[in-house]
């Protein structure tokens, strides 16, 4: 076990390093300098030169990379090209908590509703409940986040209010709790479907197993069998989905935040890509990449501890 943990942690570092190097190189070879596209048209060549000097863009590439690595080690991502003199740290410090809150809510929603839906479907296998929940899962799974978001907006903020049924859902702003409902559903829909499908098939596998037949044979009620034996064993593998779910929520938030005008990290990232704001892009890629790699690492290790059958 400890050997496995050490091995996984050992590979985590080169993965992150390659991630940093790759993004750094791609951005360096991207044509067009980020400092010029910063908005000002009446900028002289000397001023560009001065700006590039200030950001260290005229240094040799290895020197720039070394500086960059040193800054990352001290969690300093420098000054944004696009929003100067704001620092990348400040922008992320302002926007990341919003993204994190939305992501956490969407994940919680997906886990709770997804598992319930999956369990209901498996218990009523091939019944009407099963059929409906499978259909809902496919629907949620295949729709892109922004499509889901706009469908919700069209339904709850345009069509229903137009028919006199105003549930108070507005678009944009995060003033009341109602403003969080639609974005949470839009962002949570895809992972919800993933969890529901996985839970269903995992449950059905367990329901077919010998020890469930034993439990029923010894006279245990169906309810007790499901709670005591089936749920415990079938929900364990769902933990492995946590990695992909975080990935889905993190990337989905780019688009869902734009749909609902939420000032999270997503819209900033897209804007910085367009504006070639290198410090911003690098910082966001790094945060997401490291966050996801860390989650996957954690899931692997936790799963090893939780499931006694797994021995690395």
């Amino acid at each position: 076990m400890s050997r496995f943990v050490i091995n996984r942690v050992f590979w985590f570092i080169p993965t992150v390093l390659v991630l940093i190097a790759l993004t750094f190189l791609i951005l360096k070879f991207t044509p067009g300098s980020g400092v010029i596209s910063a908005g000002t048209q009446s900028i002289t060549d000397e001023q560009i030169e001065a700006l590039e000097d200030r950001y260290g863009l005229n240094d040799a590439l290895p020197v720039q990379f070394a500086t960059y690595l040193r800054n990352i080690a001290t969690f300093d991502f420098g000054e944004s090209f696009q929003f100067r003199p704001q620092r990348v740290n400040d922008i992320i410090g302002r926007t990341f908590p919003i993204s994190l809150q939305l992501g956490a809510m969407a994940t919680a929603f997906a886990v709770v509703v997804g598992i319930s839906l999956g369990v209901l479907a498996a218990v009523n296998q091939n019944g009407i409940v099963d059929y409906i929940s499978v259909l809902v899962a496919i629907l949620f799974y295949s729709l892109p986040g922004f499509v889901m978001g706009f469908l919700l907006i069209l339904l709850f903020a345009v069509w229903l209010p137009g028919r006199g049924i105003d549930l108070g859902f507005n678009v944009g702003g995060l003033a009341s709790w109602r403003d969080w409902v639609l974005p949470t559903v839009a962002l949570g829909a895809a992972p919800l479907a993933q969890i529901a499908r996985y839970t269903r098939s995992s449950m059905i596998d367990v329901l077919k197993s010998d020890y469930i037949r034993t439990a029923r044979a010894k006279g245990l009620s169906e309810r007790m069998t499901i709670y005591r034996h089936v749920m415990r064993n079938s929900l364990l593998p769902v933990i492995t989905l946590i990695g992909p779910i975080f990935a889905a929520v993190a990337t989905g938030s780019f688009f869902v935040e734009k749909v609902f005008n939420i000032p999270g990290m997503g819209p900033f990232f897209v804007e910085s890509i367009i504006a070639k704001d290198q410090p911003m892009v690098l910082a966001v890629v790094l945060i997401y990449g490291v966050f996801l790699a860390l989650m996957n690492l954690l899931v692997d290790i936790v799963y090893g501890f939780v499931d006694p059958r797994i021995r690395y």
Partner: protein, 322 residues
């Protein structure tokens, strides 16, 4: 597994009495011809029958066929050109008999633009998936066939790419190449191959231990022949299913990118970009038709491909949790 039926003709086999039969054209063939053979059933025939029984899969097939038809015959179906302005004074007019889906913010016919948008979506989906297959199959086959150090090296590379959220990487590549249709499918292809590579590698690692591969190896088949004639044909079914899910993923990516404004550039019509144009604050309430139709187009396409993919996976009996 159903794949064993795909055993390539011409492979070495051993008959029940221990005689080695080469290529199936052995001794008993003359006698065999006189006997009445049972009705032949191929893997593909069986799969097609199973697919036809699955209602959702048939719906999916219908959606995909309609999409293909619209894309191929776009200039004949669309009443207007993709950037043709009907009347700027009628901008944002709602649906009517004349313009069944209404006009957009510049007074262009939304139906015509959706039809041309089908072209963009399908092209991105198919070409990107083709690139993904070429790269993924090459890397996966090499890693799985040679195993050992080659495998470790290639798979480490795959793991790194896999760890980065794909759409993020696509955006960064797109930023490097610049926007536009061609660059979008190159970027999606360059990022998406890792999934297929992992899949094929897994298949190959199992297959290389199988008896018929050892038999082919013993009878002198080189790596090239082993991979192309024996191992690849037997990994075809999971690959087909993966590709059926890969096409909508690429369409999804293009639509999302165009929606945020880093994908297809105007005046070329793309569904995602139409959603982006329609979602400007004031329009959602006053001209919801501009938003509704492109959103439905993306949604229906994604559903169609998912239904078809799910059906194909069941029909071809491939394991997977997607």
């Amino acid at each position: 597994m159903a794949q064993s039926q795909l055993h390539p003709a011409g492979a070495t086999a051993v008959s029940p009495d221990g005689q080695v039969v080469l290529g199936g054209d052995g001794v008993g063939l003359a006698g065999l011809a006189e006997r009445k053979l049972p009705k032949q059933r191929s893997l593909w025939g069986d799969a097609a029958r199973r697919l036809a029984k699955n209602k959702l899969a048939v719906i999916g097939l219908f959606v995909v066929a309609t999409l293909t038809f619209l894309a191929v015959f776009a200039p004949w179906i669309a009443p207007y050109g993709q950037s043709e302005v009907v009347d700027p004074r009628l901008a944002r007019t709602g649906p009517s008999w004349q313009w069944p889906m209404g006009l957009d913010q510049n007074g262009r016919d939304i139906f015509s633009r959706l039809v041309y948008g089908a072209r963009v979506s399908l092209t991105v989906g198919l070409v990107a998936e083709a690139i993904i297959l070429v790269l993924g199959v090459t890397v996966g086959a090499l890693a799985g066939y040679f195993a050992g150090k080659t495998d470790t090296l290639l798979m480490r590379m795959v793991d790194v790419v896999y760890a980065i959220p794909q759409i993020l990487l696509v955006m960064i590549f797109l930023n490097l190449f610049g926007p536009g249709l061609q660059n979008i499918f190159i970027a999606i292809g360059l990022v998406g191959w890792v999934t297929e590579a992992r899949l094929l590698r897994g298949q190959f690692l199992t297959l290389r231990e199988s008896e018929y591969v050892s038999a082919a190896k013993v009878s002198g088949a080189g790596p090239r022949r082993l991979i192309l004639r024996h191992m690849l044909p037997n990994s075809l079914t999971p690959l087909i299913v993966a590709a059926t899910f890969g096409v909508p993923t690429a369409i999804f990516t293009e639509a999302s990118l165009s929606y945020v404004g880093v994908g297809i550039m105007p005046p070329q019509a793309s569904w995602g970009q139409m959603v982006g144009d329609a979602s400007v604050a004031g329009y959602i309430q006053t001209a919801p038709h501009m938003l509704l139709f492109p959103v439905l187009a993306v949604g229906l396409t994604m559903l169609g491909f998912t239904f078809l993919g799910d059906g194909l996976r069941d029909a071809l009996d491939v394991k997977g949790d997607r």
